[in-house]
């Protein structure tokens, strides 16, 4: 594909993600940090995010399965998840975490379970989107980014078009 086209596609997709609320400005910041000295920064951060989140979600599931739910621990986990998602710009995940924390304060186990479901859902969604945008675990699918780079173009930043 043409670099321009690729770039435009990338931008449109990112735009879409922004518009749909999956990502927010923080993600642009991350993209800014990626340069020659740090070419895989975004990928590294996102991967770390995935790892972290999956671990946390696991822990949350286990914690909520207990007889006596330890709300403090749950709050700690959710806080972590909130922090991670906020650092990366995963807006919807972050918002859901905020709501989760409120429910946790109320010590409502039912509510917590529901929130957990929601968080999981959001996480999966954003994971898919991010994977599509960046490198994909499955080797045979190339991300748009890879394609652009392969075609010799630069990853366009959203800011340039403001």
């Amino acid at each position: 594909m043409e670099v321009d086209q690729l770039q435009r596609n990338f931008l449109e997709y990112t735009n879409l993600l922004f518009r749909e609320g999956f990502l927010d400005g923080q993600f642009s910041q991350l993209q800014l940090l990626q340069d020659e000295s740090n070419p895989d920064f975004v990928f590294e951060v996102v991967s770390l995010f995935f790892e972290d989140s999956e671990r946390l979600l696991n822990d949350l599931t286990i914690a909520l399965d207990q007889q006596n739910v330890d709300f403090k621990k749950i709050d700690a986990h959710v806080h972590q998840l909130k922090g991670s998602s906020s650092s990366i710009g995963a807006q919807r995940v972050k918002n859901t975490c905020i709501a989760f924390r409120d429910v946790c304060l109320e010590q409502n186990a039912e509510g917590c379970l529901r929130c957990l479901q929601q968080v999981k859902q959001e996480y999966l969604l954003v994971k898919t989107k991010l994977e599509a945008l960046l490198r994909v675990r499955v080797p045979h699918l190339f991300s748009l980014e890879q394609q652009i780079v392969a075609a010799g173009g630069a990853i366009p930043m959203l800011n340039d078009f403001c």
Binding site: G25, V45, S87
Partner: protein, 803 residues
């Protein structure tokens, strides 16, 4: 004749013929012979006997008179003429002696007796002559004593009379004093008058005493007070009676006829009424007492006091009684005027107190109303804006999706209406806060250049959409930084420029900014605008000229009034409520400035000019944490290369992101996950330590304290900054308490981190603008988002609707 004794008859015999001669001779001889004296006349026995007895009594009397004299004089003790007495006594005694001795001469007596008799007579003669002579002198004296005595008696009688008079007067005086004292001891009008009448009645023994006061109209005298009897109230007489005039024309008490109307106080009976006297009592009004003058004595208002003596007593009015009455009348006048003054002042004071209470109540009510309104506004502020923005945002988003033409039209209408509503709400809320003075400017230091650049950036897109040019010219003597309310200044500028753009269809806008000198400061149309140049302030003058449709000069004054739309054309299309310029004017006034619009007429464009007072930074007394201007993102990066920093965050993603930021800025970053590791790892080479303080269950503040302790002796210990997901007041306070130099809200953007590092290295602490950010910073805006968004949307809508 036995006694003839023994006369020798020898001689006698010879001369018998000449009997008488012989007899005489005989006797003579006889006497010569016996040494006896013959009495001169013959001794008739009866006559002799009577003489003898008379002489005896005369002698007796003559001897007893001095005895009596002496006795009585001795008794009286006052007799000045003792000599006279002695003389007179001697004279009388001698006379007595003479007559006594005379008793012996009735018969034949010896020569001795005759000698004694002669001596006594001689003595008596002498003394009596002396006495007679003395008496000539003394008798007039005695007589004059008598006259003097009479004189003195008269004098004594006179003095008695006068004494009686004085006593009477003194008593009168005493009465007056007592009366005055009684009258003056009270400041109550009624008591004064009543007391007067009672005391007068008592002092003078009056039968009746009455006081006639003039009515309000001044045409009649009304019987107000009487001493003894309750006459019918409201008993009046016209004031123009001759008798009354007569009394009023003199200050003295005047006797009047008991039959005159004012004196007919007692029921007519068979008694002969006593004499009546009337006197005027001047009623001094408050107005009569000028500050420096004595009260005008030619006051026209008098009351009449009538005094009646008891009937059938035949008593008359004495002068001193009349004087008493006059004096009392004067005193009463003074006392009454004092009472009147006091009454007035008490009344005034009561009135004032009432008014005070009423005012207080009104003020409290007003305050309550204002508070209620403010509460209402505060609630509405939030409640109304939130749904509004939701509607606008979602409608905008909706617009971006695929819509059928009718749907698009509907959405556009929705958007337009909601924009209108949002603008209206914002304007009203702003204006009411402005109006009741609760709005205060948020002063800070900002860059003028960046203010204008931002405004330009915001307006350029819209202007270019309408194909208008926008030029900005800033005079070289404009200071780089100024102190003022940046946000509101931007609001005013945007509003004015936005208006210019709105009303211009072709051509463009030119913005000029310069420092106003004294001649350009004054606007002849605003004489109350007195700019006072000073060393700490300057006046910024901004002129926004457009080539638009212009304004009718007659409409110009109405532009800044609330809710007034000047142009019917604009009214149809404008998204504003007519409050924009009113709000601008308020803001400009708050900044001690002035705003006005000049236009030559319809179709000739318009120029909006405003002057605001801004401070010069550095010369003003600013707070320690200064507002450093925001460095725009496209400036040259300050070099942080090699700066050693530590980042502590237990969240791996966050840690990585923060590290990435700092690395991108050129720092040498050490990232740790726990407080323990942090304290261990921090060395003297590290300049900044970023601590995440929002980790639940971990006290990052303690970490900060320990780090400080570790480097307590070193002057250049690392600066500790907190990273947190929430900036509430307690977090901030805690951070500053443990000695952290700043608080940053996560997530941190690249620009923000850059600015933070510059700040930290420059000042050693974070400025306010770095310490708090709200939400995400996608668009760099220093003014209110609402304003810009609203404007952008409005203009975008207008464009879309083909304006």
């Amino acid at each position: 004749m036995p006694w003839l004794g023994k006369v020798n008859g020898v001689i006698a015999v010879s001369k018998l013929s000449k009997r008488r001669t012989n007899k005489a001779l005989v006797v003579h001889i006889r006497m010569e012979l016996c040494n006896c004296i013959e009495p001169p006349w013959p001794a008739d026995e009866l006559l002799m006997k009577y003489q003898y007895i008379s002489d005896f009594f005369i002698a007796l009397a003559y001897f007893s008179i001095p005895l009596e004299l002496i006795y009585f004089v001795k008794k009286s003790a006052v007799f000045p003429y003792r000599w006279v007495l002695v003389q007179f006594g001697a004279f009388i005694v001698l006379c007595g002696a003479t007559h006594l001795i005379n008793l012996w001469t009735f018969t034949m007596h010896t020569r001795t007796v005759a000698v004694v008799m002669t001596t006594a007579k001689i003595l008596t003669a002498v003394v009596s002559c002396a006495t007679a002579l003395m008496l000539v002198h003394i008798i007039p004296d005695l007589l004059s004593v008598k006259t003097r005595e009479l004189f003195l008696k008269n004098k004594a009688a006179e003095l008695d009379r006068e004494m009686g008079l004085i006593r009477t007067q003194e008593e009168t005086g005493r009465h007056v004093r007592m009366l005055t004292h009684e009258i003056r001891s009270t400041l109550d009008r009624h008591t004064i008058l009543k007391t007067t009448l009672v005391e007068l009645g008592r002092t003078l023994g009056l039968e009746e005493c009455a006081l006639w006061m003039p009515t309000r109209s001044g045409l009649e005298l009304q019987l107000s007070y009487t001493l003894r009897h309750q006459n019918p109230v409201g008993f009046t007489v016209p004031i123009q009676l001759p008798v009354i005039n007569q009394v009023f024309n003199t200050s003295r008490a005047v006797k009047i006829s008991p039959n005159s109307p004012v004196a007919r106080l007692r029921p007519v009976g068979k008694y002969m009424p006593g004499e009546v006297v009337a006197v005027r009592v001047p009623l001094l009004h408050l107005n009569n007492f000028q500050i420096h003058d004595w009260p005008e004595l030619s006051t026209k208002r008098y009351a009449l006091m009538v005094l009646m003596l008891p009937s059938d007593s035949a008593r008359q009015w004495h002068v001193h009684e009349l004087e008493l009455v006059e004096v009392v009348a004067d005193q009463v006048a003074v006392a009454l005027s004092h009472a009147a003054i006091l009454e007035e002042s008490m009344r005034a004071r009561d009135l004032l107190m009432e008014q005070n209470v009423a005012l207080d109540l009104a003020r409290r009510e007003a305050e309550t109303a204002v508070r209620a309104r403010n509460d209402f506004l505060a609630v509405m502020n939030h409640e109304m804006r939130t749904p509004m923005h939701a509607i606008i945002a979602l409608s905008s988003l909706l617009q971006e999706t695929e819509l059928m033409p009718e749907q698009r039209l509907m959405v556009e209408t929705i958007l337009k209406s909601s924009n209108l509503l949002a603008t209206l709400i914002n304007d009203v809320l702003d204006l009411s806060r402005l109006e009741d003075g609760s709005l205060q400017l948020e002063m800070g230091t900002f860059s003028l250049h960046s203010l204008f650049r931002e405004a330009l950036n915001l307006i350029k897109p819209i202007a270019s959409v309408k194909r208008l040019y926008v030029t900005l010219s800033m005079s070289p003597d404009l200071p780089e930084y100024a102190v003022g309310d940046e946000k509101r200044l931007m609001q005013v500028l945007l509003n004015v420029v936005g208006n210019a753009v709105k009303f211009t269809k072709e051509g463009g806008i030119s913005i000029a900014a310069f420092v106003a000198k004294s001649d350009s400061l004054r606007d002849p149309r605003a004489p109350e605008f007195f700019p006072i140049p000073s060393d700490n302030h300057f006046y910024l003058r901004i002129e926004v000229k457009d080539t638009g449709s212009g304004i009718n000069p007659q409409d110009i004054p109405k532009l800044f009034m609330k809710f007034v739309q000047s142009q019917p054309l604009a009214a149809k299309n404008s998204g504003g409520s007519g409050l924009g310029l009113a709000i601008c004017k308020r803001f400009v006034n708050l900044m001690e400035g002035h705003i006005w619009i000049e236009s030559e007429g319809i179709g000739r464009g318009a120029t909006a000019i405003f002057i605001v007072k801004l401070g010069i930074p550095g010369r003003l007394n600013e707070s320690k944490l200064q507002f450093v201007h925001k460095v725009p993102g496209n400036q040259v990066k300050p070099n942080f290369s090699g700066l050693k920093v530590v980042v502590m965050d237990d969240n791996s993603v966050g840690r990585m992101v923060t590290k990435g930021l700092l690395v991108h800025l050129g720092c040498d970053v050490l990232a740790v996950a726990s407080g323990e590791d942090c304290v261990r790892a921090v060395s003297q080479e590290h300049k900044v330590v970023f601590l995440d303080v929002s980790i639940p269950g971990v006290d990052s503040f303690e970490v900060a304290v320990r780090i400080h302790e570790k480097f307590s002796k070193r002057p250049d210990r690392p600066i500790i900054v907190a990273l947190t997901g929430n900036t509430d007041r307690t977090t901030k306070e805690n951070c500053l308490r443990v000695g952290m130099k700043g608080v940053i809200l996560k997530p941190v953007s690249l620009d923000k981190m850059r600015n933070v590092l510059s700040d930290l290295l420059e000042h050693g602490y974070l400025s306010e603008s770095q310490m708090t950010i709200t939400g995400h910073e996608v668009v760099k805006m220093t003014c209110s988002e609402d304003e810009v968004v609203r404007m952008l949307l409005v203009h975008a809508q207008e464009y879309k609707l083909g304006l």
